[in-house]
């Protein structure tokens, strides 16, 4: 990567670190405040919720899943019958399988798209369906993470907070205000916002040629699409399309938006557990993983082999010239690292090892920095595995933030850790073994395998980005992905909430010099090492037949 590319990346990360402090502090206040805003009270009254009632983990989980089920059903029927609604601009209702896949995809914060946005979705589907779910699904992630944090900070109780209050506050106090401001900024930078359909206009060259200009409510969706870790594009080309991402400035802002809430939430975590040292420690772990991946991806993308890459100084295939190789690499890694499926270039066209790095960012468990809320709880789960081994190594029953990690706690931690690798590997194996799975591959051999493994990883980890070569709008992939997306999103949540319930019931232990400190160089090395090692051990065989085989020649 060029010096300018590095400077750009460094600048963005510095801005991110600077902004995450006030935002994280604000979020902590928002979640702990005991005052309800007037609009929130109105919502609680309308829906019939007691905002001051506490829920134990089972009721919290029930609320989460009930909300999810309702969301999927609403989206499903919206897509099915979108042609009955205004501003459909002639787009027919979706087939039931695609509708189901898309409903599940956006509810699970995955936003895998087995369709091209501008030729499939009516504007109401976008605004009332996809846009609303971007807020809601991100908020659900924050809710579950909050419940886990309460499990760590509270003691001798069953109460984990109130799902509905957490949900409403996440949206009203955090996501909506940022989205509104960012939307106006992006609008000013040239992202379009209207309710038009496709218009024909003459080309610059004049003459008889015309081009199609697709209109739509893009700027209102764009910020939350990025912030939520959702990532579905209005256009098939997603953030590579000039109406979604017009220039280098908007590109930088979009990268920031993807990383903003997950990173700030680490700060919120520090505030909530009463130790900013904790948040700086976790941020360091995340930073090392992110920068390490960025370095790997940049080296792969900047490698000059072959005539064309040598001439232009990098792997330009599939990249937008407006952003160049560095801008695409940074965007790609931010998207895959933050469970955000957005793309400003074709990941399928990345160099094999560069694409493999994007895959690895997801295989880490979406923790660097991961999805909205889900990034933090994923990170804490990895930290608990690390703390368990580290705790034994200092000769004590393992503890984290004064909570003991015993048999009961480990049961949920390891269950959590098993879900994603099992699902990804089994789904990939089935897809590779069955003709229906092979039929979707856009390439043969190792690259074809990469496409399948990428899809399985992306849907399981609620990422949603894709190696575009795979044709997913088939019964096999539409329905198979529903399974990976649903199980990959909610089964881990079950374990997180169950763990939170157990932790909340504990009495806090005492901290002495004999207690493993959850900070400092050793702890960072332990946590980072555990994250890398577990991902490596789980996925190295599959990676070796996919991107590694593809890239090492």
């Amino acid at each position: 990567m060029s010096t300018a590319g590095w400077l750009q990346a460094a600048f963005l990360l510095m801005v991110l670190v600077a902004v995450h402090v006030p935002l994280g502090d604000y979020m902590a206040r928002a979640f702990t405040s005991d005052r309800h805003w007037r609009i929130e009270k109105a919502i609680y009254r309308t829906v019939g919720i007691d905002p001051d009632g506490e829920q134990d983990w089972r009721r919290y989980l029930t609320a989460t899943l009930a909300f999810t089920a309702m969301s999927i059903a609403a989206l499903f029927f919206l897509f099915l019958w979108q042609d009955l609604l205004p501003w459909d601009h002639g787009h027919p209702g979706l087939g039931w399988m695609l509708a189901l896949n898309t409903a599940v995809s956006f509810t699970t914060n995955t936003s895998w798209q087995n369709y091209a946005g501008e030729t499939t979705m009516g504007h109401v589907s976008v605004m009332a369906g996809l846009g609303v779910q971007a807020f809601a699904s991100a908020a659900v992630g924050l809710c579950v993470a909050l419940a886990l944090v309460r499990g760590l900070t509270r003691h001798s109780t069953k109460d984990l907070g109130n799902f509905w209050v957490d949900l409403v506050r996440s949206i009203v106090r955090i996501l909506l205000p940022i989205a509104a401001v960012a939307g106006i900024v992006l609008l000013a930078l040239g992202v379009e916002q209207n309710l038009h359909g496709t218009q024909l206009s003459p080309t610059l060259a004049g003459g008889a040629g015309t081009q199609k200009i697709v209109g739509g409510p893009v700027a209102s969706w764009e910020p939350i699409k990025l912030m939520s870790g959702d990532g579905g594009g209005f256009f098939n080309a997603s953030s590579a399309h000039p109406f979604e991402n017009p220039n280098a400035w908007s590109n930088g802002i979009e990268i920031l938006l993807m990383l903003l809430v997950p990173v700030a939430f680490i700060r919120t975590f520090g505030r909530l557990v009463g130790s900013l040292k904790q948040s700086w420690t976790l941020l360091t772990v995340v930073g090392i993983l992110f920068v390490g991946l960025l370095l790997a991806a940049s080296l792969a993308q900047g490698a000059h082999s072959g005539t064309v890459p040598t001439a232009v100084g990098g792997q330009t295939e599939g990249t937008e010239v407006r952003f160049g190789v560095p801008g695409s690499t940074m965007f790609g890694l931010s998207a895959t690292g933050s469970a955000d499926g957005a793309a400003n270039s074709s990941y399928d066209s990345f160099s094999s090892l560069g694409g493999g790095t994007l895959m690895a960012a997801m295989m880490l468990g979406e923790i660097a920095p991961g999805g909205t809320g889900s990034g933090l709880y994923g990170l804490i789960m990895i930290v608990l595995v690390a703390v368990f081994i580290g705790g034994l190594m200092v000769g004590r029953t393992p503890e984290y933030l004064r909570k003991r990690i015993g048999v009961g706690e480990m049961r949920y931690v390891v269950s959590y850790a098993l879900v994603a690798p099992t699902l990804i590997l089994v789904a990939s194996a089935i897809a590779v073994a069955l003709p229906a799975g092979r039929a979707g591959m856009g390439n043969s051999g190792a690259h074809g395998l990469s496409e399948v493994v990428y899809a399985a990883t992306s849907t399981t980890q609620s990422n949603g980005s894709s190696f575009g070569g795979l044709s997913g709008n088939t019964p096999f992939y539409n329905l198979g992905m529903c399974v990976t997306m649903l199980v990959g999103r909610y089964l881990p949540m079950v374990f997180v909430l169950a763990l939170a319930g157990r932790l909340a019931g504990q009495k806090p232990g005492a901290v002495t010099t004999g207690t493993l400190r959850a900070s400092g160089v050793n702890f960072v090395a332990l946590a980072t090492g555990a994250a890398v090692l577990l991902a490596l051990l789980n996925f190295l065989p599959a990676l070796s037949l996919g991107p590694l085989a593809d890239g090492m020649r």
């Binding site: 034994l392 190594m393 049961r411 051999g445 395998l449 806090p508 090692l533 051990l537 085989a549 090492m552």
Partner: protein
């Protein structure tokens, strides 16, 4: 681990390093353990055994020397794991045998309807017939037939069978030295014992069961770790099984590539796939886990500590607060005269002589120390014997002792607590100088005990001065407590002394806190208060009034000399009755956990090198680029896979001594321990197998030319 102060006696049964002979003699047991019904308890090794069985079938089916070699080494992996457990168990069994030898067939002389003071006819019964609540009489030379409390009489008892200590101990009715253990021998006198355990539930029975591991249940941390190992095994099983369809796809997509020993059109050969699986699942820690646990209990027994459960040993490693009795633990327990302070014009020699005479009746260690001090420093060698005197023993009501002399003149000498002496002087018409109070305070402030001395000659009483009795702190303890502090363990000294004395001794010994004038109730309350703060508390005790506190404490170490109630209440018994042993107990608990954690990290980190050996060997034919992953430069696909499998098996044997001994442990804070163990076992586990597998590859190629 050993310090000068606490250096124990030679262990009762051979301990420490592993002798090669032990390994060899454990082989038959290791083979017996191949029974799948026994393997099922250890999921990691069960998967390995199933894998070995599978490759056996495959080798029988297809033949081929490579398949057979892998099969043999997979079986060896299971055998080595069994060997680790068998060796650990055999060491426990040796101890159990030596204990069992002491459990001889004994007859008991049962007293039916015994009451204190009543003469009852003894009846001969077999020891096994004794029940809780029966009374037996035991006389010199006889074995005590069962566990119990002495309810009448006093006797010296040889407890060497249990404790290994040859010096006899005194057991007497009432008080805190009333407990006797079945199988020990009465050396003198006659005692009546009330039996406190039913047959088969005696102390000896429990002890044998413990060291044999018959009652061994997995401890909480072991269960949690086991969960992690099962999860890792599962995920590797998934990784290996799902690899097959991907391998078949890759082979088909590159049809032109040749078939290799590892990869055919039907995918990776079964033998190689199983080999990969066994290399990946955490066999190293899985194989050694139970041996580590057994060896931890064993180390306790070697230090003459009986832990009633592995859970208690683990809890010892977690302790935050140690409650230590001052007497016997921190100080030698007997205060010794260190100075004479004359008062009111009395000369130092005069005081010394009076102190000496007044102490002749005092058979307590303090009294003897006064006599000795006076003789040594003031030269009254023959004085005591030549005097005609009437001794006045100490009584709780007068709180004084002394002597009444008639020659050369009528003279009464008294020594005792300052207030008691002052009262005595005033009653005899004397005056008490204010100086006494000052000197007493001065002495008390240094942590010593003041004893006032007074005389009454011809009806005139006066105070002569003050004897300073110093509580001698055991040497080396301050350093030991400093170590505990770095380990994050707070020491609290419990004493019945007044706060001033307690403070001075606490400062000298270097404990963190002290509880003065403590009653058993306060002790219990203190434990509960610490626990309410989330702390784990350990304590030692021997008296019946310690029992509630011992039961409340997370780790309660009862002294073997203590009462049955204390032993029942605690979760450990120290056969040496050495209260400082608790420090070692904590260290053993920590070492046990550290060994598990370190070997787990080592085992997981090992997998990276195995991947680098096996993946290029499997897929290098299809994708020649992957041969770049062969960073070790292994000779061939076969030799690479073989080396990884052999390494995986041999590392178990190599680590058996470490598992039995425990990893090196020096008292330190968590940060220092993590630094050391993370880099030694984590990073070491990453690097070591690269070197070892390369070395094995070189050997294999050299000695097996077909590789």
């Amino acid at each position: 681990m050993q310090s000068q102060v606490l250096a124990g006696r030679a262990p009762r049964v051979g301990a420490g390093a592993l002798r090669p002979g032990q390994l060899a003699s454990a082989v038959p047991e290791a083979l017996r353990k191949l029974d799948p019904r026994r393997q099922v308890r250890m999921p990691v090794m069960f998967v390995t055994e199933v894998g070995a069985a599978l490759t056996t079938v495959l080798a029988l089916w297809h033949g081929g020397w490579f398949g057979w070699l892998i099969t043999v080494w997979l079986w060896l992996t299971v055998v080595f794991a069994n060997l680790a457990e068998a060796v650990a168990e055999s060491r426990g069994r040796a101890q159990a045998d030596s204990l069992r030898r002491t459990r001889q067939q004994t007859n008991a002389r049962k007293l039916i309807g015994w009451r204190l003071g009543a003469e009852v006819e003894a009846q001969q019964v077999a020891a096994e017939e004794l029940r809780r609540g029966d009374h037996v009489v035991v006389e010199a030379g006889q074995l005590i037939p069962g566990d119990g409390d002495v309810v009448e009489g006093v006797a010296s008892v040889d407890e060497s069978a249990i404790t290994g200590e040859s010096a006899p101990v005194i057991r007497e009715s009432g008080g805190d030295r009333s407990a006797v253990t079945g199988g020990t021998r009465v050396l003198s006198d006659r005692i009546v014992v009330e039996i406190t355990s039913d047959p088969g539930r005696s102390f000896l029975d429990r002890m044998i069961a413990l060291v044999e591991g018959a009652q061994r249940r997995k401890t909480p941390n072991e269960l949690a770790l086991n969960l992690l190992l099962v999860a890792l095994t599962f995920v590797f099983l998934v990784a290996v099984v799902t690899l097959q369809p991907m391998a078949i796809f890759s082979k088909q997509a590159n049809g032109a590539t040749p078939v290799s020993g590892a990869l055919t059109a039907n995918g990776v050969t079964g033998v190689v796939l199983v080999g990969l699986l066994v290399c990946l699942i955490p066999t190293t820690i899985g194989a050694l886990l139970s041996a580590i646990g057994i060896a931890g209990m064993d180390r306790m027994v070697q230090r003459n500590v009986l832990a009633m459960s592995g859970r208690a040993v683990e809890a010892a490693g977690d302790v935050h607060t140690l409650l230590l009795d001052k007497t016997g633990t921190i100080t030698f327990g007997n205060r010794q005269a260190s100075d004479f302070h004359p008062i009111g014009g009395a000369g130092e020699d005069e005081l010394a002589e009076a102190a000496l005479l007044a102490s002749l009746a005092d058979e307590t260690p303090e009294g003897r120390s006064i006599v000795e001090f006076a003789r040594r420093h003031y030269g009254f060698a023959d004085l005591a014997e030549s005097s005609s005197a009437e001794l006045v023993p100490f009584s709780a009501t007068t709180r004084m002792s002394g002597v009444d002399l008639t020659e050369p003149k009528v003279r009464q000498l008294r020594k005792g607590a300052a207030r008691a002496i002052a009262n005595w002087v005033r009653q005899a018409g004397g005056t008490v100088p204010r100086e006494l109070e000052q000197v007493v305070d001065q002495v008390s402030e240094t942590g010593s005990t003041p004893l006032a001395v007074a005389e009454c000659v011809d009806g005139k009483a006066r105070v002569l001065g003050v004897i300073q009795l110093k509580d001698v702190v055991k040497p080396g303890l301050a350093a030991r407590f400093a170590e505990l502090r770095t380990m994050g363990i707070k020491t609290v000294m419990i004493t019945g002394d007044n706060p001033v004395t307690a403070k001075a001794i606490a400062a000298e010994a270097g404990v963190d806190e002290f509880m003065a004038e403590a009653t058993p109730e306060q002790k219990l309350a203190r434990i509960k208060a610490e626990q309410a703060e989330g702390k784990l508390v350990a304590m030692t005790g021997d008296g019946t009034n310690d029992a509630p506190a011992l039961a409340q404490a997370d780790v309660g170490v009862a002294m073997n000399t203590g009462t049955s109630a204390a032993k029942e209440a605690g979760n450990m018994v120290d056969l040496d009755s050495d209260p400082t042993k608790i420090i070692e107990i904590v260290e053993i608990g920590k070492q046990l956990l550290i060994t598990r954690g370190a070997l787990t990290a080592f085992s997981i980190a090992n997998d990276v090198a195995k991947y680098f050996a096996i993946l290029p060997a499997m897929f290098g034919v299809v994708y020649p680029g992957l041969k770049a992953l062969n960073v070790m430069g292994l000779h061939s696909a076969q030799s690479a896979i073989m080396s990884a499998v052999v390494f995986n098996a041999l590392i178990i044997v190599a680590l058996i001594p470490l598992a039995l001994r425990g990893v090196r442990y020096r008292p330190a804070g968590a940060s220092a321990l993590l630094t050391r163990n993370l880099w030694v076992y984590g990073l070491g586990g990453l690097i070591a197998p690269f070197i070892a597998i390369k070395a094995l590859d070189l050997c294999l190629v050299r000695f097996l030319p077909g590789m």
